[in-house]
Symmetry: C2
Subunit: 385 residues, 2 copies
């Protein structure tokens, strides 16, 4: 189906850009001499993941057990579930392993470690667990020098659970915007995670995998000595937040929301779109960055960004497109009342680049994968837990 | 299924609260002597809509043609599609009408009116169109005194399209928080919409329906002379934004997200939950209100709000629960390191009240409808367009 015939709002993936992003990240990993395990939470779409694997990815990272189940059913067996395990979710994890899924769990505390050991013992299953390391104070994990690291490692190791590795996620990289700061955080992430693995090994725990990553640190890392693999998710599509972080150009962003102009408030300088926050998501990640893109950057159908315009507001099914230079209603009235209706006539279709590809994609049951000749096919994605 | 056995994260509807909210709104409409047409965009769930209709609702309002198709398939025929129509969507609207759906369209501009008239003429279909009126400058619509109102009305009327009514939505009511301001806006909404209908009638256009509404103005209206029906959506579940607007108590909020404590960062005073923004949504509506509830208000399983705690941060599948009194990391370290791990032990389940019921519900494929005895059943909802 051609772009002109897709009903709006719709989530489009520019396949050429996606493939370029995949090749860039895989090339960086190959240069650094580490394996790459993409985080599939960004797209939850088997078509995208097949492209990542075809380019060289080894295994995947998931954020929910539903992702693990769906991708295992689609033929991916090497899966890291990168959210701390809790006892109530162990039966689903066991069921996956019993079906042959090489599912690896993550813990960052003694209680969860003990529960996995006891549950494994009860069911005669040797679980593989990776220990989450906190290298930037951003979220979960045990800092490399905390005694808890060895406590958790030994609870697992001494109770028949395989300690498969350590993993960390320097999520604070999203708050940076210079190459120097990103490179420094990438080195901090690497050094902390390697240090945690060394401490476990000194305690007699093998800990073969050392897994690091976020899209910005993965792309900024100069060397990854001691690291065995990298994880990243949003790089496959990129978005305006990543553009502001400085790791992609606007024309690397492979996800856009196709929208139609459904009306105007000419005296305010507004064109009304049929893409509101239900389509674009409520993610306003760029609001805290140097360049605030509102609810998204409008582009022509061919992908050319419309400089000077932004989706400035959103209701559930209504988006407001306006000029960035009309900072007051009076200015808009003076300068752009005619401009807005003439530049954006009723029925015109636009593509909106989103703040955050993970959040925007999740609003849609499917992507429309658009080839360079403009033809598209549907790629299903799933949601829920 | 009992609450303890529902896998997390999950969206819960407290059915007793929902029924109370439905009865309250329907009672208000009965007192005011107007029909009630609930906006089903909030839940996209036939089980909820059946309860609204059983209580006295007449017809529904939808925000997408997919909602119209799904609810018509489920037996609801009287449907107002309350987003401005564009030509490309007319074939789907026609298909619904041909199947017997009493679908009403909305326009606010001459171009769309002409397109509907031409399309109806071409296909031998008499469409019914309501004209959108702008009574508060919030979004779409034609202001009551604009000449465009009559232009649009006459394009429709003179070209064989039925002008079924006028409709307005005073969405700026979400920005208010006193009974006086809400009552004043309700009157402004009423007066403006009635005035628009009168102008059309003076021009010889019948315009039988006069439809107003938003949850706050519907509940605040003292009289609705000249109005025939009211629309409202979020009242059926309510949320923290509506609590701050002043139209519901915390214990009226019928939607919550069931979450599990999956870890801690005790030195920061954090408990980590398995409900991040993918479950809670990125909607931070309360951030601009007098009481900022972060990503949500934690409650015990029995629904009791945990005063002094908030979901202060969210990653995709991680939520951060912390004390509202620990405004700095040092305070948290001094006062609540033990408190957070003891009050919120690993595996503990909580219910999180959301900022915005429409946005949070959309993150889930289903609700778990919880009866007063704690038993629950699944109510499916749909997404997409």
């Amino acid at each position: 189906m051609k772009l002109d015939h897709i009903e709006t709002p719709a989530a489009l993936i520019d396949v050429a850009r996606m493939q370029k992003n995949i090749a860039r990240m895989q090339g960086q990993m190959n240069t650094l001499g580490v394996a790459f395990r993409p985080h599939v939470k960004t797209t939850k779409c088997i078509d995208v993941v097949r492209a990542q694997i075809a380019a060289g990815a080894r295994g995947i990272t998931v954020s929910t057990l539903k992702e693990a189940e769906a991708f295992f059913a689609a033929g991916v067996a090497d899966i890291l579930y990168a959210v701390s395990m809790v006892p109530a979710k162990l039966p689903r994890a066991l069921a996956l392993r019993r079906q042959g899924c090489d599912l690896k769990l993550v813990v960052d505390n003694p209680g969860a470690a003990s529960a996995i050991a006891a549950f494994g013992d009860q069911h005669g299953e040797t679980f593989e667990v990776w220990i989450e390391v906190d290298t930037d104070g951003h979220r979960s994990g045990i800092t490399p020098e905390q005694d808890t690291l060895l406590v958790v490692g030994l609870i697992l190791h001494d109770n028949g659970v395989k300690v498969g590795g350590v993993m960390t996620h320097a999520g604070s990289s999203y708050e940076l915007d210079t190459p120097e700061a990103l490179a420094a955080l990438a080195e901090q992430e690497r050094a902390g995670c390697v240090r945690a693995a060394e401490r476990l090994r000194e305690a007699g725990i093998a800990c073969p995998a050392v897994s690091v990553g976020s899209t910005p640190t993965a792309l900024a890392a100069a060397q990854l000595d001691g690291v065995t693999e990298v994880r990243a998710g949003v790089y496959v599509l990129f978005d305006l937040v990543m553009h502001n972080v400085g790791v992609c150009a606007l024309d690397d962003i492979a996800l856009s929301v196709l929208a139609t102009v459904i009306g105007h408030q000419a005296d305010k300088g507004w064109a009304i779109l049929d893409a509101g926050w239900m389509a674009l998501s409520r993610d306003r990640g760029t609001s805290k960055q140097a360049h605030d893109f509102g609810y998204g950057q409008p582009c022509l159908l061919n992908g050319t960004p419309l400089a000077g315009y932004v989706v400035s507001g959103a209701n559930q099914e209504h988006g407001i497109l306006s000029s960035t230079s009309a900072s007051t209603e009076a200015e808009a009235t003076a300068g752009s009342a005619d401009d807005i209706t003439q530049r954006f006539p009723l029925g015109m279709k636009l593509r909106i680049l989103p703040n955050h590809a993970c959040a925007t994609g999740a609003q849609f049951p499917e992507y429309h994968a658009v080839a360079p000749d403009g033809a598209s096919v549907e790629w299903r994605r799933f949601h829920g837990w």
